[in-house]
């Protein structure tokens, strides 16, 4: 979570430049677009938190840009930039979902207050989501499964490093089971009787991170009604697992490095040094060496964390494990909802073996869960799978994986009125992947 992502859309170069330089000094990650078309291109690559959109532009108007942004994803805040004459349009924009408008030139304090207000707003929403997710997190946790070579290698490595106290960095795509690997290291280590404390660095809002990790003293800030232990303290005698470590801010990186060096820290608002003994395991799906090059991740911290690296294979690299995993999930979910589905139809298994699984094991788990819920027979059938597409008798049958993927994506998009945020969530891939697939397969809205 390094900085709020802001996109400025303005056709006047001088306005774009002066605004983006100003916001950059505030620590935000600023991108600019000189017209609506370019802006829409940019939102395909990145998810922005805040948009600053000029109302009067050549080509696509600010109102149109607003409409497109909101269609794509209703969550980000859109602030309209107006000149004196276009205030009525700005008011109309507010009716269409704009967060606010600013009359240019703005007062620097006014801009600062507005941006801060939006960030606080979004942090609150993230915090609520975080609390909800935390409950879910604990439910899904079980042993790792796999007989394939890549998984056997991972198991061997885990058994090698578990008895040591070395810091481990686990890398791999989302859904490959990085958390399970961390848990397995802990369970097979001498610390197994101690706590296993998870911190999802990507899910904890930045303003809560410090007190989550280090704890706080009563009265340290307005909401600190009680003294609270942080997760570092809670991990004493056990293992601290920092998931999505690539998402922590520069400030937290500095603090974390200090803890790893000194093994001593302070609660927020506290003066007494606290000592805690824990092993650190971290995980990321990001390329940290690339983040180091971009000065978004500290090199000294990286070397502290990456003493031993475990790379989790993707599901497509170990397709022979799919039947085993699928049966395992089937067994669990059918028991969970007390429905007697106990077989996977041959055709359904073939579909699963052909599919690319961009969301890896987690996507497979979700697919089986859905199949158990919607299935009407004792067997899981191809049509129970979320990525399966019914063959239209008019279209010649294609067995190519690409064709299947294209059809599946088109169907999900259509079912969700081309809402990209929703569709990418269902497909369990990120927005940029979805966009690039739409482009690659030339999927058109009118289809």
């Amino acid at each position: 979570m390094t900085g709020t992502k802001i996109l400025i859309v303005d056709d006047e170069l001088i306005m774009r430049e002066s605004l983006s330089a100003w916001l950059a000094r505030d620590g935000h990650a600023v991108t600019t677009a000189q017209n609506g078309e370019e802006a829409l291109e940019k939102i395909k690559q990145t998810r922005f938190d805040i948009f600053l959109v000029d109302i009067k532009m050549e080509g696509m108007s600010g109102l149109d840009v607003l409409k497109h942004i909101k269609e794509d994803d209703p969550e980000p805040a859109v602030v309209m930039i107006t000149a004196f004459g276009s205030v009525p349009t700005a008011i109309e924009a507010m009716k269409n979902g704009a967060y606010d408008y600013l009359l240019k030139p703005f007062d620097p304090a006014e801009l600062g207050v507005l941006i801060e207000k939006i960030i606080a707003h979004q942090a609150q929403a993230r915090e609520n989501l975080f609390l909800k997710e935390q409950i879910k997190e604990t439910i899904r946790f079980e042993s790792m499964i796999g007989q394939s070579n890549p998984m056997q290698n991972v198991f061997a490595l885990i058994m090698d490093v578990a008895p040591t106290d070395s810091t481990v960095l686990i890398t791999g795509e989302t859904g490959t089971g990085k958390g399970l690997a961390a848990k397995a290291i802990h369970t097979n280590s001498p610390r197994c009787d101690g706590p296993f404390v998870i911190v999802n660095c990507g899910a904890i809002p930045e303003h809560l991170m410090e007190s989550e990790l280090f704890g706080h003293q009563k009265g340290a800030f307005t909401d600190a009604k009680e003294t609270k232990k942080g997760r570092l303290e809670l991990a004493h005698g056990g293992t601290l697992f920092l998931d999505e470590i690539g998402e922590i801010s520069m400030r937290m990186q500095i603090d974390l490095l200090r803890v790893l060096e000194d093994r001593i820290f302070y609660r927020v608002g506290g003066t007494q040094p606290i000592e805690a003994d824990f092993r650190v395991i971290t995980a990321t799906n990001r390329d940290l060496s690339d983040a180091i090059k971009k000065e978004a991740f500290r090199e000294d911290l990286y070397y502290r964390l990456n003493v031993i690296e475990i790379q989790m294979p993707t599901l497509r690299e170990r397709k022979e494990d799919i039947p085993l995993l699928a049966k395992h999930f089937l067994h669990r979910f059918s028991q969970d909802i007390n429905k007697s589905i106990d077989q996977i139809d041959r055709g359904a298994m073939d579909e699963m073996m052909l599919y690319e699984w961009p969301g890896n094991v987690r996507e497979l788990e979700n697919a089986i869960e859905r199949a158990v819920v919607v299935g009407k027979s004792r067997n899981v059938l191809p049509e129970d799978l979320p990525f399966y597409c019914k063959v239209d008798p008019d279209i010649p049958l294609s067995n190519s994986l690409k064709e299947i993927e294209k059809n599946h994506i088109s169907r999900i998009l259509k079912e969700n009125d081309w809402n990209i945020a929703k569709s990418s969530k269902i497909l369990d891939i990120d927005r940029s992947t979805l966009y690039s697939k739409i482009k690659k397969y030339n999927i058109l809205k009118s289809n």
């Binding site: 002066s18 605004l19 100003w22 000094r25 240019k104 007062d107 500095i254």
Partner: protein, 189 residues
């Protein structure tokens, strides 16, 4: 401008200032950044940056000109002026800096303004020192800091400026050290 050591900070007054006052600023800057400082006027006038419609000076243009005039890529330049500065999107600015660049500027125009109490010379010069160190911080890639007492905190009002210290917080000090190291400069303790 040839005898300047590597990694110097040039303080460039625009207009006339008391030499004593400039020396004081130079001293405070040296304490924070640990680099050689020197007072030299590089820009005689800034008429080119004057905007007649707004009756203010466009600070970004001044920054560009300053950066052009400094031959050494390892040095920084801080200009001090008493005219009111602006950037096109904002009504005014206290100062501006090239983030990770060479030049920055501060204006004393609004720092002289009285708050609830009449400001003494002491208070005003402290404000100027704070803004100077702050803008220079940006040229060393530092961004605004959430710590209210930290000199890299962005101040919305003069009162906020008076409230913050003349020091960097622990985080900003480490980030500054990193940047100095990257540039091969001597790192202050």
């Amino acid at each position: 401008m040839t005898a300047l050591p590597e990694h110097s900070i040039i303080i460039s007054p625009i207009g006339s200032y008391e030499p004593e006052f400039l020396k004081e600023i130079a001293e405070s800057i040296k304490q924070i950044y640990g680099l050689h400082t020197e007072v030299t006027a590089i820009l005689k006038n800034i008429n080119f940056a004057m905007n007649k419609d707004r009756n203010q000076y466009h600070s970004t243009l001044i920054l560009e000109k300053l950066a052009e005039r400094v031959s050494s890529h390892t040095s920084k330049v801080l200009a001090i002026t008493d005219v009111d500065l602006f950037i096109p999107i904002l009504t005014y600015v206290y100062g501006e800096a090239q983030l990770g660049g060479i030049s920055c500027i501060i204006s004393t125009f609004r720092l002289n303004m009285e708050t609830q109490h009449a400001a003494s010379n002491r208070v005003i010069s402290s404000r100027i020192v704070k803004e100077a160190i702050h803008e220079l911080g940006h040229t060393f890639k530092l961004r605004h800091c959430p710590e209210k007492t930290c000199i890299m905190h962005y101040c919305r009002s003069i009162n906020d400026v008076d409230r913050k210290s003349e020091q960097m917080c622990r985080h900003c000090r480490i980030l500054l050290k990193d940047e100095l190291k990257r540039r091969g400069a001597k790192v202050p303790k």
